[in-house]
Structure formats: structure tokens, C-alpha cells
Subunit: 329 residues, 2 copies
């Protein structure tokens, strides 16, 4: 499954930016003086929650699918996702005239299932507790003969996700500001790898960190161990977008080289960040998209007198959970 | 009370922009391809919900208060507001080293009261049903001897609010796009007047509309009648930020000259817009800040093949109301 071709280059990411430009949003880099005061430094928030389909995933999906041959597009696309990659693939496939079939876990947030269906995809549900995700996806590929679009193990996906960090750098070049650190919401590692390639070349003074939920800190433990480590569980955090089993082989080969380290945050710290984004920033951020902000609010990284960039990677959260979080803080 | 000096000029608004630049956010102009598809045109959303203190009001408050003399600042600031002007004044007074006392109605949203207090202001509550707002404010001014900062009837306030539209024009100049219409959330008329001065000079092809809640469409009825008309009630809409009694004399003298007309939306249409902003745009918008979006979603203005700019003027909404809205749509 993993594609161990060479990692995408900065030029590949610049080409991806050209490719997605007519269809993706150039998302704003938001700064809040109240947030800066609270942490004692400057935080720059790359709002991928405002991206098409509500997360950064559209970038990679479109960059990958738009480079398929017409023969491949005619076979249709198959993807496996709890929701954000699903929506990105469904939207990108629609733009490229391909049919998309998405394998989703039974406990995916309703808003993600509904939006994926609304974007024209067929949905196949598997039980996360009793069935294996990859096997479920393989069955669908066998049956339909479609092209499997992996959420992170492909250079075109990683290059597409990297366009987000490229836009951050372009904004900073206007003001001449340099980042001390760049934080990325990290699961399989595609956004992290793409961002790390950009930042390590164009913003070499910035330390790059993946941020993960506690107990799903596979990238963090892998970096310490020097080899890929898996998580003990596949459920048990509100960060539904970040529940990967183990870092990708391809993405980890990039991230192990370029990351300074990884940070982890508890569900409680994530809830506080989601509530803070509602109350003070006026942004809707899903739990998995708020881990970077949570790390700063919870003091997991020293922000004092620093300039720290970060992705808010998505905003697809069910109304019931959002209501629960904002009402109890 | 009204200051019938000449209206602010475009140069006054440009000077205000310089004055507020170090302290205000340059808010993003957001576009959503999904929203564009839904209305059949291009909608450009000026996100004043992301402004300092969660609404555009900081712009005018800082432009006004920063031009007071040190003697006036020493006397302190008094303002009357249901919440957004209150927070803007509290923040601006704090930056200028002045004490702020805010007269607020008993039914102001808790989030607005709490934030105003957190910004260091004293709060005096009056009963909106039994007491007159202006008289309550006059009593506080008499007692404290402070400078009254009216929410809209002053050229410095109007010039400050106009900086939001100036930023919109500056963004459009980068792309060469021209607006067919510009929609402004309208109550006393300060943001509307400031925006209209900018747009009528720099974007002369754009029709400028105020947007109001049904039953609080005083500006709309005034424009039709050719004179200032008051509203039958002062309570009864979820748009707490837009419950003015009658258009300002000063603001109306500007708006009656420059507005193409006014649109009005029901509470139900506003709730749908707040829910849409949550679900699809991933933005937290308060009811009074969502009337412009509501007008487009409800078909109150023809968006087909048009480019329409608008303010989302604030995002200060209580969690309980927000939860109620997003859970029932």
C-alpha cells in the first residue's frame, strides 16, 4: 500500500498549489490579540477549517485525483476515512468527473457522513471495533475495481497538503516575520510531512512539531523510539480525525527526518481549545483540528515572545458535541 | 446629543485606518465556494466577527477615544450599549488609559456583559422595559462627569466603522473585482454610513443596502417615507445588536443620501444563516451579524451572477442560544 517513491519536493508542492488554486480556498492566516496576550507571544492560525469541505484534506485529494489518467478516473475512486479525507475525496472526484466510494467507520460523526453523501459519494460502513479498516477498503477495491486513494501514503497527497504551509510562508514573506515554531495536527502524517518539507526549506529557523491526542501519540513515541510505534487503541478520544493506528511508513520516513518532536494534549485540553475558539476567536474548530491551539493554551510549548504558526486543520464537528463543549466551559 | 458636523470624508476614514492599525485586526474577506454555488453568485464576507472584542465596534470606539484630550480621558468614558459597542469602548478606553462605565440593558447577552467586565469596564444595568436608555446614560454622565461616547452619532465613530469597508476595497483592488452590491448589518447606522461613504466613492457601481430585522426595519421605512421613522417595539428579535429605536439623525443624513435601499429578514431566516455559518462556513456569527448572509440565503436580493460584499458584523452569541440554533436545523 505505501508508495515509497521519493518524497515530494518543494517544487512538487508549488506545482500542487497551481493545480488546486482554481478549486481550493486560500485560507486566511488569523491572529488574535486576545490570544496573543494570553500566551505572551504571537500565534498565527492557518484556518483550514475554512477550506472547501471544512478541512485541509481537499488539497491533497484534489492534487492526487486530478493527476489520474482518464482510464483511472473512469474506474472510480475508493477511499477510507472517518470523514475529512472522505469529504475531500468526494469533492475532488466530483470535480474530476469520477465516482467516489468511501469506506467509513460506524462511529464517524454524522456531519461528516452527511456531507460526504451530499458531495455525491457512495458510502460503505465498517465496524471499527470488529473489522479492519484496510481489509474493508481492500474488499471494496476488489469488488469495484476503483483506484484506492490513500489518505497520506502518496507523494501527490503529501504535496497537496503541503500547499497550506506554503501559503503561510507566502503571507509571512509580506511582513518579513519569521516563525520560531510550526505546529501541525498529526495523525497519519500527510499534512505534517507536507508542512515539514515546506517549512524546513523556506523557514529553516522554525522547529516543526506534530501535535497528537494523548494515547494516540504514535508519532511522538515513534520519534523517541527511532522506529514506527503503534497506538494501544483505535478509539477513545474525541479527536475522531486523529485516530490512526500507526504513522505511515512513507510519511514517517519524512517526518522522522524533519520534525523537532511531537506534543500531546488531553481531551480535556482539546475541549478547552474548542470552547476558546468559539468564545474568543469566533471560529468553529473540530477536536482534531484544535490540538495545536490546545497545546499552546495548555502550555505544552513555550510561547513567550515567540512567533508560532499552526494549522487549525478542520471544522467538521457535530452540533451535539459542539453544544456540549461550549455549554460546559 | 447628535453631532451634526460634516460627515466624515474618505480621507477621515483613511486617517482612522492608520490610527487603529496597530490595535485592530485586519479581518479576512472570506469566500466559500459552497455558498457561492448555493446562491449562484460570489459572496465576499468581511469577517468582523473576527475583529478584536468580536465585532466591528472596536474600530469606531478606538478612533473616537484615541482622539480625546488627556483632560477628557482623565474624566473617564461613559457609553450605552447592549454589548458590542460596550466591549469596543471598554477595550479602546483601556488602551487609552481611561476608565469606562457602560450602561447596559438588563437583557443583554451574558457573554457580552462578561466580556465587557473582563475588559475592565464598570457596568450599570437599566431595565429596557421600564427605563429609557438615553436617560439612564444621562444620569450616569451627570453623576460621573465622564465623556459620553455615542455608538453612532459622531463623525469619529462613523469614520472608524468605515475602515472595514476600506479594507474590503483594498482587497478587491488586488484582484480587480468590482462589487455589484454591498450589504451592511444596520441598526443605528454608523457602520452603514461609514461603509456607504467608502463604497460610494471607491466602488461607485455597488448598490449599498442596510439589512435589518423584520419589525426593526426603521432605516428601510425611513428611506421609503423620506424621514426618520421609529420602530413599534424595542424588544422582540434575537438580533440583540440591532434593536435601535430610530435611525440616528446624523447617520440617517448620510444613509438617506447614499443607500440604494434596505432589506429585512425574519428571526427564522437569521437562525438559518447562523446555522449555515456553523455548518458550512465554520464561523461563529451572532444573529445581528448574520442578517446580511440571511438576506442572501433567503433570496431577499438577487445574487445570480453577481459579486456581493457584506459584513458579518459580530460573533458575540451566548452558548445556549448558539446551541439551540445549531441543534434544531
Amino acid at each position: 500500500m505505501p508508495d515509497l517513491s521519493p518524497p515530494p519536493t518543494l517544487d512538487d508542492i508549488k506545482a500542487a498549489a497551481m493545480r488546486i488554486a482554481p478549486f481550493a480556498h486560500r485560507t486566511p492566516l488569523v491572529e488574535s490579540k486576545m490570544l496573543n496576550e494570553r500566551v505572551g507571544g504571537r500565534l498565527l492560525l492557518k484556518c483550514e477549517n475554512l477550506q472547501c469541505t471544512g478541512s485541509f484534506k481537499f488539497r491533497g485529494a484534489y492534487n492526487r485525483i486530478s493527476q489520474l489518467s482518464s482510464e483511472e478516473l473512469a474506474r472510480g475512486i475508493v477511499a477510507s476515512s472517518s470523514g475529512n479525507h472522505a469529504q475531500g475525496v468526494a469533492a475532488a472526484a466530483g470535480l474530476c468527473g469520477a465516482k467516489a466510494t468511501i469506506v467509513m467507520p460506524h462511529d464517524a460523526p454524522a456531519i461528516k457522513v452527511d456531507n460526504t453523501r451530499a458531495l455525491g459519494a457512495d458510502i460503505v460502513v465498517y465496524n471499527r471495533d470488529t473489522d479492519n479498516r484496510d481489509e474493508a477498503a481492500a474488499r471494496v477495491v476488489d469488488e469495484l475495481g476503483g483506484v484506492f486513494v490513500h489518505p497520506y501514503e502518496h507523494p501527490h497527497i503529501i504535496a497537496g497538503q503541503g500547499t497550506s504551509a506554503l501559503e503561510v510562508v507566502q503571507e509571512l514573506q509580506k511582513t518579513g516575520d519569521n516563525l520560531d515554531a510550526y505546529l501541525v495536527c498529526c495523525s497519519g502524517g500527510g499534512l505534517t510531512a507536507g508542512s515539514a518539507i515546506v517549512m524546513s526549506e523556506l523557514m529553516p529557523g522554525a522547529d516543526i512539531y506534530g501535535v497528537e491526542p494523548v494515547d494516540f501519540d504514535d508519532t511522538g513515541r515513534s520519534l523517541v523510539a527511532g522506529k514506527r510505534m503503534s497506538n494501544p487503541a483505535t478509539t477513545g478520544s474525541i479527536c475522531d480525525a486523529l485516530l490512526v493506528e500507526i504513522p505511515g511508513e512513507f510519511t514517517y520516513s519524512i517526518n522522522s527526518r524533519l520534525l523537532k518532536g511531537a506534543l500531546s494534549v488531553s481531551d480535556d485540553e482539546v475541549r478547552e481549545a474548542v470552547a476558546y475558539a468559539f468564545r474568543t476567536l469566533k471560529l468553529v474548530v473540530e477536536p482534531g483540528g484544535a490540538v495545536t491551539l490546545a497545546a499552546c493554551l495548555a502550555g505544552k510549548i513555550d510561547c513567550k515572545d515567540k512567533i508560532i504558526g499552526m494549522t487549525l486543520s478542520g471544522g467538521n464537528i457535530d452540533p451535539a458535541l459542539f453544544s456540549d463543549i461550549i455549554s460546559t466551559r
